[in-house]
Amino acid sequence: MKLDIGGEERFDANIERVWEMVNDPAVLQRCIPGCKSMTETGSDQYKIELNLKVASVGGTMEGMIGLSDKTPPSRCRIQVEGSGTLGTGKGDAVFELREENGQVVMKYEGTGDVGGLVAGVGQRILKGVAKHLVGKFFTAFRGEIQKAAA
């Protein structure tokens, strides 16, 4: 199942700071919903373990996350791939940072691809759940920025 993800987020921080944080595996690990561990396996390549939980639905997943096509401090591509008890998932997104009115605007756009169990029995709410997870990520990320600023 294809899922389109995209949006814009605004942060009160400078662009270098946001860039740094997006590229910080420790920050990512804290922000990715359900991320249990993130182990570096190569340059900008990490093995991740997830314990996903959205309301009643939950499961474990193992996979890879990679950052590429970097143009600091404005552009980066994130690729995620994993599989687990809920099925398989793949994501490919590009985010772009720019400064605007003293804020940093993060524009992100990408597609996800979900297969296996969840695609077969949960297609009705998959999109909403994905949206919710993305939202959770940014809530946490905003928190990180505030924490760093404080």
């Binding site: 959205v54 309301a55 009643s56 939950g58 499961g59 008890t85 909403g128 759940v129 919710h132």
Partner: protein, 292 residues
């Protein structure tokens, strides 16, 4: 399709259930199980422990509290269906309840369970959202409540704190004399999740003017929403005005789309169903005058 292993414990009270949840973040409450059990069987849900609240008898009740009807969280849906109190005082829920699953699932399914699972198309949630019900829960801090405006936040996702056990729902009862209701739903089979549903409650004054209108739409977005069409209140019997107000009110909702109903379908039919629900509610309210 056998669930992954879990422990099982019966909670003695809502507070007990909440304490048990606090002990283990992977605990999960089960009441009637009509939503949770399929998810367990498919291993979409894999709690470490199930906390059974179904037997907490003090959470099973339907009470008339003058300006509201209080329904306990573990009240079986079939009790709502058969309740003359609900039929008389909360006719919108009475109309909606027969659309919930089918008789055998209503026999086990609970009002609280449906609200807690918060399916985007759940009828009980829709009525709660439409009427602006207040949900009562118990968590570590004690007894609390939350309005449905804040409660629903995503598909099967609510704002209920992680350690909360739902205790009940208070549905406001309108004081006006002439109150009518309308409930409309489209689905492929009568027991299936609604593609879209609409619930309306209208109060008319003695001159047939609309004194109050509440409208809710389910199945359209990630959760049921109350839709403000007060703009059309003075023209409540004018189809185009009501439709326009509805269309405007739902314009910002991103519709669900799945193989059963496209986003366009949901958006378009939501307007029709909402209009029909309003129309029927107004008609019913009007008839009441003659009956009195």
């Amino acid at each position: 399709m056998k669930p992954a292993a879990f422990d099982y414990i019966r909670a003695k009270s809502a507070a007990h259930a909440s304490a048990l949840l606090a002990e283990d973040e992977n605990g999960r409450i089960i009441a009637g199980g009509q939503t949770l059990m399929p998810m367990l069987a498919m291993r979409l849900a894999r709690p470490s422990r199930l906390i059974d609240v179904a037997r907490i008898s003090e959470l099973s009740y339907i009470r008339d509290e003058k300006d509201k009807i209080s329904i306990g969280a573990t009240t079986r849906q079939v009790m709502v269906e058969k309740s003359t109190l609900i039929a008389k005082r909360l006719p919108l829920l009475h109309k909606a309840i027969e659309w919930v699953g089918h008789p055998p699932t209503r026999a086990r399914g609970t009002v609280g369970g449906s609200l807690a699972n918060s399916d985007p198309a759940a009828e009980i949630s829709l009525v709660a959202a439409t009427l602006g019900a207040t949900l009562r829960y118990v968590d570590e801090t004690g007894e609390n409540s939350i309005s449905t405006d804040e409660y629903f936040i995503g598909p099967m996702i609510t704002a209920l704190p992680a350690t909360a056990c739902l205790a009940g729902a208070d549905f406001p009862v309108w004081s006006e004399k002439r109150v009518g209701t309308g409930f409309e739903e489209v689905n492929a089979r009568s027991s299936d999740f609604a593609f879209v549903s609409a619930a309306a409650q209208a109060a008319l004054d003695a001159d047939d003017k609309c004194a109050r209108i509440a409208l809710g739409i389910g199945g359209l977005g990630d959760f049921p929403v109350r839709v403000d069409i007060d703009a059309a209140k003075d023209q409540i019997e004018k189809e185009s005005a009501v439709r326009e107000a509805i269309a405007e009110a739902i314009a910002d909702i991103e519709p669900l789309a799945d193989l059963h109903a496209t986003a366009e379908y949901r958006q378009r039919v939501a307007v029709t169903l909402a209009y029909r629900a309003v129309r029927n509610a107004v008609r019913e309210a009007k008839e009441l005058a003659y009956a009195n």
